[in-house]
Amino acid sequence: MKYSIFSLARAALSGHKNWKPTWRDAAPKDRYDVIIIGGGGHGLATAWFLASEFGIRNVAVLEKGWIGSGNAGRNTTIIRSNYGLPGNTGFYELSMKLWEKMEQDLNYNAMVSQRGVLNLYHSDAQRDAFARRGNTMRINGIDAELLDQAALRKMLPFLNFDHARFPVQGGLLQRRGGTARHDAVVWGYAHAASELGVDIIQNCEVTGFTRDANGTVTGVETSRGKIGAGKVGMAVAGSSSRVAAMAGLRLPIESHVLQAFVSEAIKPLIPGVMTFGAGHFYVSQSDKGGLVFGGDIDGYNSYAQRGNLPVMEDVCEGGMALIPMIGRVRLLRQWGGIMDMSMDGSPIIDKSPVDGLYINAGWCYGGFKATPGSGFVFAHLLARDESHKEAALFRLDRFQRGAMIDEKGQGAQPNLH
């Protein structure tokens, strides 16, 4: 169905009893042109772009649980395109531009809110690094503003500006950045893809690949039977190594746990998204009033979807150092998600060495903001067998070639990215 102010009014007048499910919960057919493994934001976006942009509608999205039950439902909902390295800068801006028209394209309210993303700096060296990144963004047509302390004092008077150890000197602001409603992004893509004929198949866990004599992938084995496919794309960040292992591949990826937190609801305080530059703490405020915040990954391999106390303590200390008054706010909820930590902190969107299998992986803890861009370039790769120009550097073999895209220059130590 098409959503509009009139459909809302009609539903309201009939007591909201006539809403239809927003997507079809399909049963698997014998064969599809393209199968996407993973019914998160990236998988569903890929399916929608395949159907809407590339004319491939015989598509299935296989999800082992319910759609959006993985990292799409476990993130802090931030969208931004403030990256400094070739490869990342253009790709994340492509994604940002898709966020800006997503709701109209999908006919779904994803609550995209461009309330600004502000990275604070606390030293001269950090200011210089941020100025450089801001200039890189502006050269590439992306908005960025370097703010000094006076501007921040007006905007965020409650920050701990004169902290002896972490004085807030200023910040790099991307006003077009902000937040989006993570579940609605999943539901929106599912809604729009389903309308175009994409089968969304839940509770369908992939347990292996079927391959022909040449080793080419011809389909998948699942908990709901064998399904044939012309091509198979995997978008299962968190479990990429496990799925790739079924095809005999080892990936340059470790799975790590990242925690996020929500406080009890308070009155409007934080206008946008804010990051502490002297530790690792970032925060925004949800429309319900809760402070949504997080920090570092826990730092050890994990598939457990829950973390431990040292990082929780570290994140809260970061918050206290920056905004001392939140010390009296109580923590409401805390959760963990499993991150595909790649060896350079950047994603992999490429054909795999196995014919017929395509990889979309390695999103580290930055996958949410990439959702529309990732879907678009992965659909491009699946449809045309060549990388989109904005994803041309996200190759699987870049580690072998020494062509890493390492924003922080940390090297092959995933728990530092």
Partner: protein
Amino acid sequence: MRIVCPFCGERELGEFTYLGDAKPQRPAADAGEEAVYDYVYLRDNIAGVMNEHWYHGAGCRAWLKVTRNTLTHEISAVEPAAGAGAAKVGA
């Protein structure tokens, strides 16, 4: 998660630093690019029981070999890694 250090006893996680899978061995100097690529970049990324190197930085400063389940965080064994710098040369 707490780790029972064989030297210090049961200590909280914050005292330890993680290195990673204890299985990869640094290849010989003449092993070639493929072996180095494999060692530096590729991971088994085990979902289940894994041997790992941890460093007890806020305690005895010894390298430890910890057997831990990555699906549950359950630790089944902790032993000293073989000598200082063991993580680099293989325990």
